[in-house]
């Protein structure tokens, strides 16, 4: 029991359970199959995005370009299928490749120049988003193969959408990566203390590049999943990812200075954020109040999960010393 209490996800799990019970007491529609389906969809998409940011938080950096990568891949993916009539599989592969390349660029420049990833990804955010706009001239692509549309819309059984499959696999893989592989442990070690881990013999180059490449790949997958969901490839995909991508890991106990992330708690963070924004709709909150509520709910969520860590977090900085 006391071991459970120590877990980052435990407090959040309780909040989720009690919160859901409370909401469904007031609004039974909350646990209707269709609502669960909608909830799972929004969780699925954000999960991938949150993981993409989480792995960069793990090494104590930030990736401002997640959304830009996601958007670029989304429109490349649909563009290839619409303009070049490419079939789905190669389009997916090229999409992943673009994500990988973007991540590699971020990681490579960051580690080779020693400039903070915040700055590098701020610049690449402009570059990737600029390419996106330059290619599309702000026009969406509409010609999506039926199979893609089906994947984004159909249910496996009950309220469970096909779309959750990939995010769930990714979450499991991420858990294994962060908890059971040397690579993941080295990333966390690196995030904990860059100098120590270099002295231990961990190669910064490898760690940083791998983390960014994984982040790029996840952002790419996120972008393509959004295409499946929206059934069109608009240049705006990814524009709204940045804040939720940080909010979920941080609500899940991640420390922005690096070295501490928790995959399960991050997933719970995503669910919590989704439930909050859904609750705002379900309870018909006046649109003029929505922002205010959202702000207070974020603070509340973080308080609940953070209180016991008060001392550690008190003065951690976002960026470790360069």
């Amino acid at each position: 029991m006391s071991a459970l209490l120590k877990k980052d996800w435990f407090g959040l799990g309780l909040v989720l359970i009690f919160g859901s019970i409370l909401i469904s007491l007031f609004k039974p529609a909350f646990i209707s199959p269709f609502n669960l389906y909608v909830l799972m969809l929004s969780v699925s998409l954000m999960l991938v995005v949150a993981m993409s940011q989480m792995i960069i938080i793990a090494i104590g950096q930030m990736n401002l370009s997640v959304g830009a990568i996601g958007g670029l891949v989304a429109i490349s993916f649909t563009g290839l299928m619409e303009v070049y009539s490419m079939s789905i599989l190669p389009a997916v592969l090229i999409g992943l490749l673009i994500g990988l390349a973007c991540g590699f660029i971020n990681g490579y420049i960051t580690v080779k120049t020693g400039i903070s990833a915040f700055i590098i990804t701020l610049a690449t955010l402009y570059i990737f988003k600029g390419m996106n706009l330059g290619i599309t001239e702000a026009q969406p692509f509409y010609e999506i193969p039926e199979a893609v549309k089906f994947f984004g819309n159909a249910k496996i059984f009950g309220p469970i959408p096909y779309l959750v499959i990939i995010p769930i696999i990714i979450t499991v893989l991420m858990w294994i990566l962060m908890n059971r592989t040397s690579l993941g442990r080295y990333m966390l070690a690196y995030g904990n203390n860059v100098q120590s881990s270099e002295l231990i013999g961990i190669s910064s180059t490898k760690i940083v590049i791998y983390a960014h490449v994984i982040s790029g790949l996840l952002a790419a997958i996120g972008g393509m999943l959004v295409v499946c969901r929206l059934q069109l490839g608009t240049p705006n995909i990814g524009d709204s990812w940045l804040l939720p991508s940080f909010a979920a890991p941080v609500i899940g106990g991640a420390i922005l200075a690096g070295g501490k992330v928790d995959v399960i708690a991050t997933a719970f963070g995503v669910i919590l954020v989704s439930i909050i924004s859904q609750a705002l709709v379900i309870f018909k909150i006046d649109p003029f109040f929505v922002q205010i509520f959202l702000g207070f709910m974020i603070l509340l969520a973080v308080f609940i999960n953070r209180y016991r860590e008060y001392r550690e977090e008190r003065r951690t900085k976002v960026f470790s010393d360069e």
Binding site: L45, Q139, I237
Partner: protein, 320 residues
């Protein structure tokens, strides 16, 4: 004596709605002998970015500016400065609020369009039912106009219609998808009609209804996104309020050239009035449903030609 007219057509930011302006400008150059009529897009939806772009366009020698106001109030300042510098401007597609130095507003009366759309929805519902309204950023003054217009149309319906929910701030696809679907889950069985008054909510709501296969809920959208048009053809969406971006760009460029040649607006020009301005010319708003969704382009062209043909005689006093 005024040199060639070089018109810049500047939207508020990158958005598919304005794409037709590009061709419209080129056609205007061809048809009316302008020097230039270029479609120039700010890199972001951001008032300051738009201002910066416009300022740099003046530096590049453009001498007339047609602008979709990044803000109905905020854009006035720069329009005034351009006017002081001898560069005529006009608001295109959406209006700026008076007092303004923009020569006129040529576009859609956003409030009126929402009002008409809601009327159409109420008609389709047979005068009673529960409706929801999905719209864009709250801080856009047009959003408030739309919310009020929808309320007004509902209040005129005489009690049979009720607005059960307004969802705003969904001008991005992903939050829109999340919120609209959450709404469908919670109120889908209760709601009878949906009116959307912004591009993204219209697309997402049309997509949601299509995905659900729901033909019971009546929806009236806005604009001409393919998703919305297809949903109309497939019967998931009742209709949409179309605007006339091509005509705006084409006729707007023409008028700017005339103004630069010294034409003045007639004192008794039959301006329309909107909540924002009383120097408004309607570029045409039409409601299309399944019956005319395939032919709306022709209908729009008809409206444009009609406006163009009578424009000089109706609005302008030109030096001979």
């Amino acid at each position: 004596g005024h040199g060639v007219t070089k018109v810049a057509l500047v939207p508020g930011g990158p958005h598919p709605y304005f794409a037709a302006w590009e061709q419209a400008g080129l056609d205007a150059v061809e048809d009316f002998g302008l020097g230039k009529a270029d479609y120039r897009v700010p890199a972001e939806w951001d008032l300051s970015q738009q201002n910066e772009l416009i300022e740099s366009l003046v530096g590049q020698g453009y001498n007339a500016v047609l602008v979709f106001p990044g803000d109905a109030v905020g854009t006035n300042k720069i329009l005034g400065e351009l006017d002081d510098a001898g560069i005529p401007t006009a608001a295109l597609a959406g209006c700026v609020e008076q007092p303004t130095q923009a020569k006129f507003c040529f576009g859609t009366d956003t409030g009126h369009s929402a009002y008409l759309g809601t009327k159409e929805l109420i008609k389709a519902l047979g005068g009673k039912g529960k409706i929801a309204h999905f719209t864009g950023f709250l801080v856009d003054p047009n959003t408030t106009l739309r919310i009020n217009a929808v309320e007004q149309a509902v209040s005129e319906a005489g009690g049979g219609v009720e607005i059960i929910q307004v969802i705003a701030d969904i001008d991005a696809y992903e939050p829109a998808d999340e919120k609209i679907n959450a709404f469908m889950a919670a109120q889908g069985s209760e709601v009878d009609g949906i009116v959307t008054t912004a591009w993204v909510p219209a697309v997402v709501a049309a997509q949601a209804l299509t995905n659900m296969g729901d033909k019971r809920i009546k929806m009236v959208g806005i604009d001409h996104d393919e998703v919305v048009l297809k949903a109309i053809k497939d019967g998931y969406v009742h209709g949409t309020m179309l605007q006339n971006p091509y005509g705006q760009g084409y006729i707007g460029s023409y008028v700017m050239d005339k103004v630069r040649q010294g034409c003045e607006f007639k004192a008794d020009a039959p301006w329309k009035s909107t909540a924002q301005t009383d120097q408004f010319i309607d570029s045409g708003t039409v409601f299309v449903d399944i019956s005319d969704v395939d032919t709306y382009v022709m209908a729009m062209r008809g409206i444009s030609l009609e406006i163009l043909e009578t424009f000089d005689s109706t609005y302008l006093n030109c030096p001979s």
